[in-house]
Amino acid sequence: MTPPESIAELATQPLDDVDEQVLGMLREMFDQYDPPPADLAESVGIALTLSAMDAELAELQQQSTLAVRSSAEPLATDSITFTSSSLNLMVQITVDEDDGSLRIDGWVTGGGVRIDVLQGSSTSSATSDAHGRLTWERLPRRPLRFLMHPVLANERVVITPVIDIPSTGGQLSSDPSIDDS
């Protein structure tokens, strides 16, 4: 039996084995039920890299109804437009019905602009053609953002907010909380 000490008294005493055990079990419980995401360290690394590059955060200009259609129709979404001081980008994201992968058709203001699609720690690059067009195919179905490399050396790289990709159906959405610069 524990002696009938008050909580206030107990609070001022040094930790003992029971405390260690209780805290150890709490840690185990939270590690099991709410662990940090597996790609948290990677995403921090990317955030630090972007910060070191002094990237400009593009604004989400237009986000009309972005439901990913799940019928047998072409799974087109409406377009998303990002604007920045140097570059504008419009994208359409399409889900392949067979394998669930993403196709992205993009139009950027200018040819020869390299744009990376960042998903976790993976990067898929494309460079716009003379009409400013770019395409990415067979991307995994997971949240993504775009990193634009301006053609002129004196312009800053531009990063867009993250676009959420629902695992099935639902709405694509941009996460406003990313805008903390």
Binding site: P14, A41, G45
Partner: protein, 207 residues
């Protein structure tokens, strides 16, 4: 923090064979980073991400927002690294930054989502109820039951300090703006309350 060495000494006597404390390890990495070993940021991130994650989650953020908050705290640290004069304060500094950012994000979310309109959120951050899990061990279920009866602030404190060792409690609790153990690692009211509840539960066994 004048009491830091004293706390470490106390901890060292309690745990003679214990590993280096989280604060010690973080301090080593960060001091090296500050002196130009930039690659030391990687092990520092790995070491402290779980703590920052649980700070953000215990402020009631969803997983995506918590991830953003953790990223933000690291970016701020690198931006301000030359202003942090004592590398031993890096854990408290990062934790405080993550907590403040988490509350800022949550405040914004409250403005747009009336369901989130509560002064102090539940600290589980929506992990669900482990008691529903059939494989949840009996003692874990009891622990969860009593943990949930603590005040939200106590839940937050215990959730975060259990990520470190006794020598780290002072820094972790000060990051949460709930300083405990100014002289050596004492258990504090929250842990005293949980411990008392468990020891008074006839089904609890301290095996």
């Amino acid at each position: 923090m004048a009491t830091m060495t004293e706390q470490r000494a106390t901890s060292a006597t309690n745990q003679p064979t214990g590993p280096q404390s989280m604060v010690d390890e973080a301090s080593d990495h960060f001091a090296a980073f500050q002196s130009g070993e930039l690659q030391r940021m990687t092990p520092l991130v790995e070491l402290l991400n779980p703590v920052l994650w649980h700070i953000a989650r215990s402020c009631g953020l969803d997983q995506q927002s918590a991830q953003d908050v953790v990223q933000c705290a690291w970016v701020r640290l690198v931006e301000k690294s030359d202003q942090i004069q004592n590398p031993r304060t890096v854990v408290a500094w990062l934790g405080t930054t993550a907590r403040r950012e988490a509350w800022r994000v949550r405040k914004n979310q409250r403005r747009t989502d009336p369901r989130a309109n509560e002064e102090i959120p539940t600290s589980d951050g929506g992990i669900g109820d482990p008691a529903d899990d059939v494989v949840f061990a009996e003692d874990q279920r009891l622990l969860w039951t009593h943990f949930r009866e603590l005040s939200p602030r106590c839940q937050q404190l215990l959730r975060v300090i259990c990520q470190g060792g006794p020598a780290d409690y002072a820094d972790l609790s000060s990051a949460l703006n709930m300083p405990i153990g100014s002289i050596g690692p004492t258990r504090g009211r929250c842990l005293a309350a949980l411990r008392t509840a468990l020891l008074n539960d006839p089904d609890w066994s301290t095996s």
